[in-house]
Symmetry: C3
Subunit: 302 residues, 3 copies
């Protein structure tokens, strides 16, 4: 879990994903010599802060976002959310240099308030203070959404073949994500017409921690029935544990791909977490195992 | 009206449009031998569940969506709307195998509730129970929005020339429609820069049943004035009855085309209906005639 | 200010931008003979009502929208907003032929109401009555948003080099703007991957009239940190006065570019105004000077 812990220490709210990108680039360059297929990396000019990791001759796409929720400091210590940080808790936030501040959510005024008597620099950005731990069954940390998926993909990378993994930006900001750009690149260069969305979802009364990664049959978006049925059948055949999720709200990079100008199928497959977008998110270790198993199985078969 | 009745029996909520597509493909293959121009059909790989029906060398585009509103069954018999089914009525719904259930809208809780003591399979989809009838002046059925437009296009197909008809998907789901993908294909392959949106609108105090198909001057989107003026002038010249609609809300595939990355004009022309998205929609026969007349006139002249 | 006054007299709500386009085309054709680089104009077929003004071999993009807020007359004298006209005032509106009518905002019913006993033609469009004046420090007029930016660009045009200026449409209508189309054209033809958004923002407690044009670090969208830091550094180096804006709401053509399928950076730089979208908007003359200085400096260096 050392790799995951490192990923969860990176300050990367939407707009500052380059720090996760740099980490992944370094990791791949340092570790990929013995992988079954050494991936090519596409990033830099023409990619903004996005990153493509391409194994062999890709027939299947996976997308995982690199950004987290957070805050922009406005004038007068205003805390402007980046994405949707979980409300209703008191927590410590930090900026890119490690300076910290305590904040709480004011339920009357419906806004985040600074507790400390300090002045935040207008325009500075803040994310939850890193705080990583592992218990017998659970991993606890901010940003498991979505560093867990980044981690999972690096962990199965040594066995990945003929797959393109897109690390995306701005997913936490409704309808601002660069998923459409990445989907376009993947479609035009490798004719990728199906993308698995590696992301983290919610534990609910019906989707339970420990019962396996969730395959989402719908959220605000609805994957094409022909495609989702095929995926569910394949995962069933894999023998890996999984759950089916049916949600009325929530979206992902898949929402942007669905609305894109490309005929690309998508489906969300990811571990459920407790306290989504909160300062401590919790995921069951069995669901991480399940996610790893499902992606390993699907990526070489789709 | 036999053809329309058949179309209205198809279970095709957003995500399951393939059933309407298959019906249209079969119909065209069985009937087009004697048409003035036998259309080419584009569908399957690279098209998701969409369908293009191409007559001659197209200069004009028409778009009609194939999906209907409906419900996804969640866990615990939750009824999650697909699109916006009309609230405030008690009705029978059915799944793809014809199993039925009675539901009503709970105005207090603002949600749909199952009346029967049965268990809906999580992930299964439901649409209004087919119930088709024709009176002296009206046709009554669920899904007139938008099977009526599909029907209209098949009816005028024998005379259509140099037109591309796009049958689209996911229109009922706000901003998830594949209209942008289809517009892109039409623009890139045939330089189509104007698309008529064949869809069904609402009877209001000002747009009346029986007064002709409505040309919409605006809804949430606003077509370019130069284009809408030209279309209105042409329809006026055609001698076919019509009405002008000016709405502050509501959208269509045209909204997606307006927001697309392509310089394509669009305008909504369609019959108004009573009880939109309800279990029984009603359209005046004269407005169907008007719609047919307008499209027949415009498609060969634009 | 004669040129600005003329621009502010043009009736051009979203959908009728062709009148501003025609004005700019005429102006450029009449005045560009002695400019450092005579620009090429792209408009007409394939551009809807948009316009590209291309200097030399462009490496930098600027975008300024041509449309204003306004009203569509519905049936029964209903006033349907085009974009978001400022509420809470009584004002005179006029149509394209100069016919006028007095209107006020009904705070109880949350809608605009006609005061005069006349009948508005359904489908006709209305904008604020022109009313232009200049005081010692301020310019006052409707439509400073965004005719001021169009004016600014025409004023610095004689010195512009290797820049493409895009005059866009439908910006006032949320998510309907053609910014994505223009960004695509600029990217594909000239590999433009950075666009400055020339538009007008709001005077607030922290962004003051007279303190310089505002560089927006964020609104609903967040520009990429690497890019916004670079721009702020450059403007700092230019010696031109400026302010930093940090907003939680509001969008611009930049929002559409951020959500587009192209890897294009954007940042909003514009003068703040009092009474945005109102019948009289007010901008400080020093902020116009600042805006001119910043664009002149950046366009030749980016």
């Amino acid at each position: 879990m050392e790799l995951l812990e490192k990923l969860c220490q990176i300050h990367a709210p939407s707009g500052e994903e380059f720090r996760v990108r740099d980490f992944v680039v370094d990791y791949v360059n340092s570790n990929s010599a013995q992988w079954e297929q050494k991936p090519q990396l596409y990033y830099g000019d023409g990619y903004q802060d996005c990153l493509l990791m391409v194994f062999g001759e890709p027939r299947c796409g996976v997308m995982a976002h690199m950004d987290s929720v957070g805050f922009t400091a406005g004038y007068g210590n205003e805390l402007i959310p980046i994405g949707s940080p979980s409300t209703g808790e008191t927590a410590v936030i930090r900026d890119q240099r490690g300076k910290t501040a305590e904040v709480y959510y004011d339920n009357m005024d419906k806004k985040w308030v600074l507790k400390d008597d300090i002045n935040l620099q207008p325009g500075s950005t803040w994310t939850w203070q890193p705080d990583f731990s592992v218990t017998e069954h659970m991993v606890l940390s901010p940003f498991l959404d979505n560093r867990l998926s980044v981690h999972m993909l690096l962990k199965i990378a040594p066995q990945l073949k003929d797959t393109v993994v897109a690390f995306s930006t701005y997913e936490e900001m409704s309808q601002a994500g660069k998923a459409g750009f990445l989907a376009k690149r993947m479609y035009e260069q490798w004719q990728i017409d199906k993308i698995l969305i590696a992301d983290i979802t919610w534990v609910t009364d019906y989707v339970k921690a420990g019962s396996g990664a969730a395959i989402s049959l719908r959220d605000v978006g609805i994957p094409r029935k022909m495609f989702r049925d095929k995926i569910v059948d394949m995962v069933k055949a894999s023998g890996v544990s999984y759950q089916l999720e049916i949600e009325k709200s929530g979206g992902s990079d898949g929402t942007m791909i669905g609305a894109s100008d490309y005929p690309i199928d998508w489906i969300f497959i990811g571990a459920p977490e407790i306290n989504p977008h909160g300062s401590i998110e919790k995921v069951h270790l069995a669901d991480i195992e399940s996610m790893m198993g499902i992606y390993k199985y699907l990526c070489n078969r789709l």
